[in-house]
Symmetry: D3
Subunit: 193 residues, 6 copies
């Protein structure tokens, strides 16, 4: 898979503002590669900064009723509904690792309704996917169902904000035609030796 990283220009890393370059170096060191969305956004440093700040505020977070794995599965389900390959593959990989489950991300991507998740997560995904594809239909009754499954007000906001953030991310990725890095496809599928 040797498709270009973006339909738009990708500047050399050395041209980036210090803050972005340092963030990119850190991600690359930790992951072993730089996810393409970083490179694709870098020609717009202000937008890239904002994008990653919002991402981290919502995704690097673990609460009793909404784990990091749960958050990744929201991304997988809603990105699949939007046909966004990058987000399904990259966040599917992270979901496999976070959930320590090699099957769950594919199950959620193709048919979350039959995925082996608890009632709480089925409700989360039902509301999340509707907010992603038909937002007018989401009501306070939906939010009350989430509260009944133990989500706090902060968790509730996070569900909506994650869906919203990836509504942005899915469309920008479609627009720039950003492909997932090859590494993501296999991550979390085979047990570490």
């Amino acid at each position: 898979m040797t498709q270009p990283i973006s339909r738009f220009p990708v500047p050399p890393r050395s041209d980036l503002p210090d803050e972005l370059r340092e963030r990119f170096d850190a991600v690359e060191e930790k992951s072993g590669f730089l996810p393409n969305v970083f490179a694709a956004l870098s020609w717009r440093p202000a937008e890239a900064e904002a994008f990653f700040a919002m991402h981290d505020a919502l995704m690097d977070k673990e609460t009793p009723a909404l784990s990091k794995a749960d958050r990744e599965l929201i991304v997988v389900a809603t990105s699949a509904a939007n046909g966004c390959l990058y987000c399904v593959v990259a966040h599917g990989a992270i979901a496999r690792i976070r959930a320590r489950d090699p099957f769950l991300a594919d199950q959620v991507a193709v048919d979350w309704r039959k995925a082996p998740l608890d009632e709480r997560m089925h409700t989360v995904l039902d509301v999340a996917v509707r907010l992603a594809v038909d937002p007018v239909t989401v009501t306070t009754a939906d939010q009350d169902r989430l509260r009944a499954h133990g989500l706090s007000e902060d968790d509730l906001w996070d569900v909506g904000a994650i869906v919203s953030f990836f509504a942005l991310s899915n469309r920008l990725t479609h627009w720039a035609a950003i492909p997932p890095n090859d590494e993501f496809f296999l991550m979390g599928r085979v047990p570490r030796a």
Copy 2:
């Protein structure tokens, strides 16, 4: 219209981090009131900072092929497709002012196809609305049609990024049920004395 500003907590302005509070004070001084989306986002300062940074990077910009008014009309058309009252009313108000036209925002909100716009803007809105509601259908051919109407690569990115950003904004606004401020409904409808 005395609906609450958000379904989530709204902290007193004095509790906000300095940077946000100063931004809010400046907006309020300039506009005469604080748009509700500012107050509604303020309980999440990091997300609020990122949100307004991305907004300003995309919307406070005028290029030969994509004016500030054009950008607002993209917001109006796609937000109407998502049934987002706040964005239709607030950005409809700004569009009326930017375009110096008391009718155009309502025309675009209800039926952009018949709105009295040039071919360039009809193409922009056709592509923008599809990216908003059915993103997999947008192709490089669509982008080439925009280039043929004189949009630069930067303009092209902006079209996609504005649609993407308001895909986020529409959903977060639905989720928190943020109403437009009363002031927006009348702005730009009557000639200034």
Copy 3:
């Protein structure tokens, strides 16, 4: 906004049959202007007569469970679902006046589900919009829900007949591309001096 009144011929008023011409004169005298839909239909006098007769039979009527303002809001909600600018703007104007509320028509046009209406009107609009856009899904259970909110059999018929009449009106207006008169955009938005 100087778009033509119709894609089809518009005869001079002096050529109209007496009955139509008198009706038009009376409307113009009362409103201060002749709504474009009158002029646009006048080349087909028999259809115009039938159209206005049916309109008046359904809309100029006030009952305990279905006020004139309620009837206008049914028109606004279903016409918005059909993207009909003329009907949204003209009947939005009348709704503002009938309801003595400068905000409600825009709220109903963009997102009736969150509009500050009572349970009765939420049920009315839920059923009305489905009858407008997906009529096979409406059932006797829907009609029973309306009866439970106090609607009489006459009110019930009126709900269905109003939706049906504006299903006609929206499509004919699209077909002839009839624009709303400029006057409608501002009516009912500013308190009378």
Copy 4:
């Protein structure tokens, strides 16, 4: 099939205003039975008068580019798209008689795209069905395609007005649950002896 004629009251014929009663008697004498839609509308004489006046103005008309049979097929195709049994069965019967073809109405009701019609009628039905189910998508280019097939401005209006009128009729029929008379099911299927 002994379903009631309407969910709403049906007054005895003797209670009707003279003009309606005479119209009903004439129809019954000519057809051998009174189509249920007449009886179902009769509790609202003003609406019934307007309904039949508009119907006759559009349907009892033959032009070089839009025959009576063509008009009935527009009704069949759009009513099938709306799932309206009464209109599909009653106007299917009339279409079989007008077109002297025992198969065409069923072909058009189930899959007009493959029905053995000329290019003109395929274009008419393509535009008509879109106006019926998704009216915002119909453009002046669609109308130009109809003109290119020889439709006059009057024919063009009639296409739009027939679709619009049956958008009303389909919904009112759903709302009142008016069943087709038994007689319609077999009309035009067997050659007259």
Copy 5:
């Protein structure tokens, strides 16, 4: 109606493998004509054998909770949802004969929700049509509703398998543009002398 039997080659009967030819002869003798789907499939004998074997295993079967007529109505409702003229007309004819009712097939084809069927069959058709057009939405709760109406596990499988088989049949018929034989249109509409 003299459309070709298929867009693909139709071999002479004498060229068919013995087993298929004997089946065709038997069907023709019993029905008085050979349904076009037999001829259209015959250029692919292995597929034809499998097709008719699966058809007979599901349709030539009568159980207390799912009669032969019920099975035909499932075909009519789901084939109508897919716009498949051949299946609606041919299985509508068989349904009229099996149910000894000249109206029911047309009622189910156009608007099964209002057809005069018992609660069991309304539930069957509700689930069947969703499985046909939007299969991800069908759940174990739907299957439990069918069990509550007395369907056995075998009946339940048959409902799903009939819908599935005609999902195949409808699409293959569209692809080859197979028209119904003229004989089907009138079958079961007139009482036998």
Copy 6:
């Protein structure tokens, strides 16, 4: 993943008719495991025989313009459109092996429009997915586009028949809730040592 193989009874292999049992043994020996769809169908031997006969007639076939890999990708794209996990995962695995490409199946499952395929396969998938989800829209013009890419009449039939067969397979798999075997998830993702 230890979900049951089916919502319906699964008989022990020893109870199967000889022909089926031998087929199952052969598949198991060749693949190393028995795909769950075999076990799930085995309680209905006649349907199972027909199902596998039709499958093999369409899929075990290589022609100049439609390779075995191409056929699997048609299955992946249309099964993804139907949200069928079993078919996406199982046939995705086979597609990876047939195409000797560890990425292509995921690309086609999530967003076939951007998958790195030639024009011929883009056209094949465009037509195939429409035949799967909206069969009335497929026309002879679509078939001519496939012929222009070199597909023979036999290839053309196969495209339609594969889509049709998996329309059946997807629905039956949803109905019985058949999960993919664990083995499929990883097949073809890692180079053989």
